[in-house]
Every structure is written in structure tokens, then in C-alpha cells.
Amino acid sequence: GAGVSQSPSNKVTEKGKDVELRCDPISGHTALYWYRQSLGQGLEFLIYFQGNSAPDKSGLPSDRFSAERTGGSVSTLTIQRTQQEDSAVYLCASSLGPGPGLVGYFGPGTRLTVT
């Protein structure tokens, strides 16, 4: 596709359940980022993938959060034993590479609601 796609667009889950969020980056983009945006807040960095290098996981808020990227393309963000404070919009972005100043293209996001 022409842009970054994410699925599902909306997810409602019960507290304690696990969820998986998917991101399809722009073809050819080697860098992929996950951000979280709580209501009315800024963008909170979660994790960064660059090619086949080990991901930068420094932004993950707890060990309930994990992410993987298969084949240098699609990425899945997994949240285990979801809590109400996990409710937010999860945004994925990709860019051409690791170089500074490269444009990040955002997907439409997945709105996660934990009840």
C-alpha cells in the first residue's frame, strides 16, 4: 500500500486479557517505530526497529509490553494482561532508514480501550 497501515483500528478488551496490534510499514522502509498517545497527550516512544539490528526497547513501560518485527517488515506489538492505564491510541511510524532527519510516516493508529 501507499502508506503505513495498522490493524485493528479499534480494540476493546477486558482487563487482564492479551492483545496484539499489527503494523504494516511502507514498503522499503527499514526503520519502524511504535508510539503511544493517551487522550490529549503527546506521543510517547515505545520501541524502535532498524533493519536486522536489535530493537531499542527503552520506551516500553513494563515487561507486559513486547514487540517483534518479522522479515524486516510487519511488526506486532503485544500487551499481556492488559490494564486500564494501557488504554490509548497506539501509533506506528516508518521511515527510510536510521539517518537523522528522516521523515516518519505515521499509520492511522489502533485505539485500545481496556474495560
Partner: protein, 112 residues
């Protein structure tokens, strides 16, 4: 560390000008500006690199003051379509290959 944006919110009439500032306590390498409309993903506006000149896109331009570690976004003769939340993203180290760190945003509302 998160860059600081000011003001947090601004309301103006169509045709008026606005300035949004983004400041960092660390030496900046680049600054990105994005606009996000309600319910949509952020959309890239422009990048300013260290040592670069002021950039512009239509009636939206930005500057990068390296001494002050600050960038300013200028919206001239604002249009209704300019409404949204503006985020600045900063990079500190060109070699870190790390993510952008975003400010908390400035909510801009343009009234007719």
C-alpha cells in the same frame, strides 16, 4: 528528555498569525514538525536540520535557533484547515539512530 512546547493552546481568527515554540535542554541535531487533526494520525510538515536555513511550506514556515536550542513554527494568515495539534519532534544525536522525542503538543484552533 521531552522538548517543551509553548503555548499549550492558541485560538485565533482566520487570517491571523501564530507562532509555536519548541525548546530543548539538550543540543539539538534536528527538529521535526507534525500536525495532527482530531482522530487522525500526525502528518509531517517539515524538518529543520542543524545548520540549516529557515524552511517554509505555503504559509507555514519554521526556524531553528541552534544557540537557544529552539525551533519556532510560524503560521501566517491562518486558514481554517490549520486547526489541529502541532507536535515538534527532536533528535539530539545524529549517530544514535534513535527515535524522535516529541513535545506534548500545541492545540491550534482557527475560528471563522
Amino acid at each position: 528528555q521531552q522538548p517543551v512546547q509553548s503555548p499549550q493552546a492558541v485560538i485565533l481568527r482566520e487570517g491571523e498569525d501564530a507562532v509555536i515554540n519548541c525548546s530543548s535542554s539538550k543540543a539539538l541535531y534536528s527538529v521535526h514538525w507534525y500536525r495532527q487533526k482530531h482522530g487522525e494520525a500526525p502528518v509531517f510538515l517539515m524538518i529543520l536540520l542543524k545548520g540549516g536555513e529557515q524552511k517554509g511550506h505555503e504559509k507555514i514556515s519554521a526556524s531553528f535557533n541552534e544557540k537557544k536550542q529552539q525551533s519556532s513554527l510560524y503560521l501566517t494568515a491562518s486558514q481554517l484547515s490549520y486547526s489541529g495539534t502541532y507536535f515538534c519532534g527532536t533528535e539530539w544525536d545524529p549517530g544514535s539512530a534513535r527515535q524522535l522525542t516529541f513535545g506534548s503538543g500545541t492545540q491550534l484552533t482557527v475560528l471563522p
